[in-house]
Symmetry: C2
Subunit: 435 residues, 2 copies
């Protein structure tokens, strides 16, 4: 039994939140046994090993609800371009030329290092060679939902690859406590109706969730309406009935879409930085909220965001929601923290396991150092965490009770090796870039 | 003579930008003598003292074009509130109760420490007791434009205080090379026409610039239209003719306002985080750009932003401009860096002195460490600086050739004293807060 205490604990058990003082987290065997007053904890567990994190707040490890981890290797290859040119002239050609098991392994490890150092303990991924991603995530001790990508990248990956690997990936996940799988069809505009339908069938057959880019851009919606006569949400609903659904972006969902998604219990991964950088539009979180749709916060991949930084993303999500809804009281600090933790876990179907500090859940939590002068003075802990804190204030991270970050340093991941591999990819990919 | 070199130098001499390699900054007596190729520099200045900053990019020190520095002491006192309640129920009552010379000194010093550590070398301030601000800025060696606030805060400060101090503040500035002064009427809705007119007269008489909150909210514009029949920009133009003008926010400027401001040569301090947090609306940078209006980037005060972080603000300005203009190519990385440096200096009327790395200007520059794994791989230096970097990557800061930050630590400012004073204010102000 271990007791971890700190001046403040934010258990995030509801959107309204709350801050506990003089409390601690009791954990054993990688799970939270209780969150309870310190005095009571010492009486109940006199033999426990105790650690106090001075100046820190303890909160659930953050959940990155949508990313393409290995795309860290493409950080900055395509700045300030329209989405079309971004995808068709840069991202996909480079992926066609470089995609390999080694590329995916090195990019994913870099992403996990960056995310862990920034307090992100769980991520929903969508990228090629999912078996490699599983291996790297397991090796790093990160929690991941691995999305098996259904998409054709000529010469590098095909829908058939996805369908062939799905059963193996799922069965690898059942043996790894931190890992889960989803089928991840890219989007309605990049797949045939047959492949979308087949994705739905296979998801049902294998009992997998579906993770798809959904209503990300106006063009996607307009194209779907003109080609199929219905919105992307309706099309997905028809072609993939009955499977648990998580949509990434959800920028251009109308009220009918939301009604349908709410009935299905689908969740949305809100990706504010990526949507803003690619000028995809503003996701209307107030509409999702009004329909009772669960939403989390995602960074998207590094090629459209450049930071796998859930702290920056939380702050941006709150600021953007207030301005889009024209209501400064909307998405308050506690509500935002909820979206970045338990909300994300709900979207991934993992809210029984992670996302809040509650007895029985996995011990996935972080300690954020509030002694930085950028956090002084300190009147409002949740407000400070969302609006003032940077990820550089993350002191410690535990995943399933294992210490992954201590004093802002990775405990058991070799950063120098990761850095050297990134440098070598920089050389190879750099040669493919114009001028 | 000193030669400071690094793998990359971004001199920011135009909005299109550019990156120099194998170059250095030659400086002497606090001024930039030249930015030139390393080999040539060593030949021309064989006796020079040389320093090479491995892994770093050198760029102009960032300019925070609008803030209320001392409001760091109110960081987090009023989260998630509508502007009206924010200002009338929290900010102004607390200021009425606490405002003193000691409060301003302690808050300003905390702000300067935070800004210097984050690479901000110059700030346009607007706060009470400007003589105290001058003293603190001079003591810290920061560059500041001190805005003498024209506003009545019952029991704490009055318009008369401002008018009485203006001449003294201006003359103190003429003796301090890093300091300049402006008259800072709060806004058209918070001052009488007489006080606005008097501000203009005094600015002309003392040869001071005017720094005013301008078209920040829809209510401000609607109120001005209904009370005075003209927009805030037109009203200010009429009541304060012929003085150099810098407007903060400029969210609700229409085309006529912009035409008028362009003719006057007025500049705008764009404050994206504050505008989003208070749901004030979206500033249309593309419109300012089309009218040829200079704009800089400001954090606003800590009570409506929580971070005096020009790196976060640059990233947000770029992301927001793309999404508001629906053009992902707008506000590219070089253009954004220009706004945060030379653009800000133009707004403050200081572009002859700071904001770019050019022979003859003050040696105000920073070194940003790009070896962080969050900056790997490294294909695009400007893109990385705007979209990926955090202020924690600031390695060094020079103001007028004096080293203010080295290896991420303040060189000659006592952080422990600042922290202790913030803590003591936290105690006093905390008692005034509800609940």
């Amino acid at each position: 039994m271990q007791l971890i205490s700190a001046p403040w604990i934010l258990p995030v058990t509801s959107p309204q939140g709350g801050v506990l003082t003089e409390h601690c987290i009791a954990m054993q065997g990688g799970r939270i046994v209780d969150v309870l007053p310190l005095g009571q904890a010492h009486r109940q567990h006199p033999e426990a090993e105790c650690e106090h994190l001075e100046r820190c707040a303890l909160l659930p490890a953050l959940v990155n609800a949508h990313t393409h981890a290995a795309m860290t290797l493409l950080r900055g290859v395509a700045e300030d371009l329209p989405l079309d040119a971004w995808l068709n002239e840069r991202i996909w050609p480079i992926e066609s030329a470089c995609l390999s098991r080694e590329y995916v392994a090195d990019g994913t490890r870099l992403a996990i290092a960056e995310m862990l150092l920034g307090g992100t303990g769980c991520f929903a991924d969508m990228y090629f060679h999912p078996d490699v991603i599983l291996e790297v995530a397991a090796d790093c001790g990160a929690r991941a939902q691995v999305g098996i990508p259904v998409l054709d990248i000529p010469g590098a990956w095909s829908c058939s690859d996805a369908f062939e690997q799905a059963e193996e990936v799922r069965s690898l996940c059942t043996r790894a406590p931190l890992l889960s799988a989803a089928l991840a069809p890219h989007a309605v505009y990049s797949l045939s109706l047959d492949d979308l339908r087949r994705t739905g069938e296979q998801a049902r057959a294998l009992d997998l969730r579906v993770h798809i880019h959904l209503a990300e851009t106006r063009q996607e919606v307009d194209g779907c309406l003109s080609e199929h006569g219905v919105s992307p949400a309706v099309l997905v609903d028809r072609l993939m009935p009955e499977v648990p659904l998580q949509g990434a972006h959800g920028v251009h969902l109308d009220d009918d879409d939301c009604t349908l998604l709410a009935v299905r219990g689908a969740g949305i991964a809100h990706c504010p930085a990526s949507n803003m950088k690619l000028a995809s539009g503003f996701c209307n979180l107030a509409r999702l909220e009004a329909h009772g749709i669960a939403f989390g916060i995602g960074t998207d991949g590094c090629a459209s965001n450049n930071r796998l930084d859930s702290f920056a993303e939380m702050r941006l999500a709150a600021l953007l929601a207030k301005s889009v809804s024209e209501d400064p009281a909307f998405m308050d600090a506690h509500r935002t923290l909820h979206a970045a933790t338990l909300g994300g876990a709900q979207v991934l179907g993992l809210d029984g396991e992670t996302g809040s500090l509650e007895a029985g859940k996995s011990a996935d939590f972080i300690a954020v150092d509030l002694s930085d002068i950028a956090s002084a003075p300190l009147y409002d802990i949740a407000g400070q965490l969302i609006y003032a804190c940077g990820r550089n204030q993350v002191d410690s991270v535990w995943i399933a009770g294992a210490r992954k970050v201590r004093s802002g340093e990775l405990v058991d991941i070799d950063l120098e090796d990761i850095r050297a591999r990134a440098q070598s990819w920089q050389q190879r990919i750099g040669e493919l870039l114009p001028g």
